[in-house]
């Protein structure tokens, strides 16, 4: 509520805490897992390469990121599927 009032009043700090919280969350996940954006990119490319053999996927909207759940870190991949490939050998 306070944030909304701040925003209506056009205060400059509206939302900067939220931005800070989100940036902090991401940076800590990456630090704790010792994972660089480069690592995630490579992983994403590899995933695309493997999954493409089995199904048609929307490579543009594919998201791979680390998420913090309770006390564990999860690798979360959101991979929109366009269609399945017919199995070649059956």
């Amino acid at each position: 509520m306070l944030d909304i009032i701040n925003r209506l009043l056009g205060r400059e700090n509206a939302g900067s805490r939220d931005i800070a919280r989100e940036r902090l969350r991401l940076v800590l996940i990456h630090d704790r897992a010792s994972v660089s954006p480069n690592f995630l990119n490579t992983l994403k490319e590899e995933l695309i390469r493997v999954i493409r053999e089995y199904m048609e996927i929307d490579e543009e909207s594919l998201v791979v990121d680390l998420e913090n759940e309770e006390n564990s870190i999860a690798l979360v991949a959101n991979i929109p599927i366009r269609g399945f490939k017919r199995a070649a050998n059956e």
């Binding site: 931005i19 940036r23 991401l26 940076v27 010792s34 660089s36």
Partner: protein
């Protein structure tokens, strides 16, 4: 685009004490100069405790780091992160998982040797402390900026650092006083600029007032110099202009005698040389 000037300056920003605003100074002075069209590289030497990427809001763009450059895993060019807001600003990230002993002063010198032909200014963000990290950071620098706060422990550490820089043969050491609260100085509850200059005896490069807008822009990962209404942003812009050799008056935060003393100090220093 190419660089603007023939020469290039390598400037180390240091303090001894942590948390006085070294990284904020590097990020903002570098951004201010890049905005004026100078080609700038900033180098984070706080290996293991990197901050510059976050202060500049470039943390998601980091791919390689300085250790990978040194160990030959990537080229220097590949590791430089380009700042989209300032086309002339590049950052060489520190590594987060290693420590200060993983690099040597000669390796920093080699990186700077490669950067010099490409950049007008190269800023080195020095880690707190006086150990290996400090030695690495000053090894390649032509000039030093010492950042301090109007606070006894910060000034003591600044004094120690100035002594170490002098024994490392630095000729050009300038002072930035960060987080000054004019109202507290006025009411007699904060060390004044004169108090600091009297003890530290180096030329004053800038006075940055305490400004809540700094935290807000740090939250967002945006340099404060982009905020035209911020007093701190203005102060960092003034520092950039002074580094370019321009005469910029110091705002009169204090009593009238201040100006005279700064001028005298400057004269005394120059007459020694």
């Amino acid at each position: 685009m190419g660089k603007k000037t023939e020469e290039s300056s390598v400037i180390v920003v240091t303090s001894g004490k942590g948390g006085v605003g070294k990284t904020t100074t590097v990020a903002n002075v570098a951004s201010a100069l890049a905005r004026k069209g100078y080609k700038i590289a900033v180098m984070d030497l706080d290996i293991g405790l990197k901050k510059l990427d976050l202060i500049l809001g470039l943390e998601n763009r980091v791919i390689y780091d300085i250790i990978q450059v040194i160990e030959g895993e990537c080229t220097l060019k590949q590791a430089l992160v380009k700042d989209k807001r300032f086309p002339e600003l590049y950052m060489l990230p520190a590594a987060q998982t290693r420590n200060k002993d993983d690099i040597k002063p000669e390796q920093v010198q080699e990186i700077c040797r490669q950067l010099r032909p490409e950049f007008d200014f190269i800023f080195i963000d020095c880690p707190a402390g006086i150990e290996q990290g400090f030695r690495n950071a000053i090894a390649a620098a032509d000039k030093a900026i010492v950042v301090t706060n109007p606070e006894v422990s910060a000034v003591r550490d600044a004094d120690r650092i100035i002594g170490m820089l002098e024994s490392a043969q630095f000729q050009d050491i300038q002072l930035v006083i960060n987080r000054l609260q004019a109202s507290m100085v006025k009411s007699g509850d904060m060390l004044s600029i004169d108090d600091l200059l009297e003890h530290l005896c180096i030329t004053l490069l800038g006075i940055v007032p305490e400004d809540k807008k700094v935290l807000i822009s740090t939250n967002k990962g945006e340099p404060i110099v982009l905020n035209e209404r911020s007093e701190a942003g203005l102060a960092f812009n003034n520092i950039a202009n002074r580094l370019l050799g321009q005469q910029v008056d110091f705002p009169s935060f204090e009593e009238d005698s201040l100006w005279g003393k700064i001028r005298n100090l400057g004269r005394n220093l120059f007459s020694k040389e």
